[in-house]
Subunit: 214 residues, 2 copies
């Protein structure tokens, strides 16, 4: 499948590399076409990897992964272009973290709204699925890296798009997946970040994950 | 030990009964001294159970469990009286749930503050420990009721009070306990409620718990 990765940070590089390893063609998009980290991604991942602007990547991809920082996500998606996102599944991994007061971060949107909902409202013809945002990127692409069989949540308005996201989750080793419902349920998973950060600070281990014991 | 339970709802009755079963003396406090649910609690739990006003209960207890609804917690604790809470461990189980717009609830305080912090600021000479607020009350007193070996968090400024809370948690069957840090970390555990509610709605099962897989 042709997949766009928006964002050149660790999350984008880790997910993009995993998708290439799974046999997909991956275009990494960034603000400018000459991004050095995107160039390194292409060098490391060979002929199935490419790069371009956010718009180039979104036009290329049949599915789009939003791996940008939450504070930049809406702008990056506007640069990607609604016309390039229309009718496609957008897997939104970003979190609305606000580091303006240092560590630990707060959330710049929460409780009665979420970043996932903001993105869905801004791009109503795109099928947004919130998932994977609750673990470190190495755990995202290898659930067992957490040391067990953790739970992953999906939130979104479109059942087909959620099934598409679930197929990627299974390929990443997630066996226990809970469909929480529509995109408003992203409020819940984005609000896992504060306890994620505090657990990481308390234990010194970032390679953990949440399990719903039931 | 002499223990006060503030609140006569299911959480208070379940925790109070468990504490009596463990051999403690438990006084259930309510707004008025003639509360029917407190009377039933006493009848059901025998001579080690008693009842009274919030102030009666707080004066009786060496440790206080706040089992009131979050929206009433600060008022109930004011009625209990700072002088009756002074120097004592207050185990705060309440959640800042706002049902004013129906289901699912939002939180009336979150992100940059928490109910646990509000209580600690209002009663600076009391040692507040936030814990147990992230599971159904039957799971609170019997961790294995979730079907596994889940994680419980504690948050509080006083190490001795947290150790006292941890002793209760162990008696309730919690084997995996993470001390997140000071009372500001209650922001994280109170913000687990939105995903708790949505998981309950999605699965139809309220007897689940969170595990930090690591």
């Amino acid at each position: 499948m042709k997949i766009a990765i928006l964002g050149t940070g660790m999350v984008g590089a880790t997910i993009g590399s995993k998708l290439v390893a799974l046999g997909h063609e991956v275009c990494m998009g960034s603000r400018t076409p000459d991004n050095e980290k995107a160039a390194a991604f292409v060098t490391q991942n060979g002929p199935r990897a490419s790069r371009g602007t956010f718009a180039d990547a979104a036009a290329f991809g049949d599915v789009i992964f939003n791996c940008t920082k939450g504070e930049h996500s809406l702008e990056a998606l506007r640069l990607a272009g609604a016309e390039n996102l229309r009718g496609k599944t957008l897997i939104d991994i970003a979190n609305p973290l606000d580091f303006s007061n240092g560590m630990p971060p707060s959330l710049f949107v929460c409780n009665t709204d979420s970043l996932g909902e903001q993105i869905q409202r801004a791009f109503p013809e795109t099928q947004v699925v919130k998932t994977l945002n609750i673990v470190n990127c190495e755990v995202m692409v290898d659930a067992a890296r957490s040391g067990g069989d953790p739970t992953m949540f999906v939130s979104g308005n479109d059942a087909g798009a959620k099934n598409q996201a679930i197929d990627f989750l299974k390929a990443f080793g997630w066996n226990d997946i809970i469909d929480l419902g529509d995109i408003t349920t992203a409020r819940g998973t984005e609000q896992l970040l504060p306890v994620w950060v505090r657990t990481w600070m308390a234990t010194g281990n970032g390679h953990f994950a949440f399990k719903i014991v039931r």
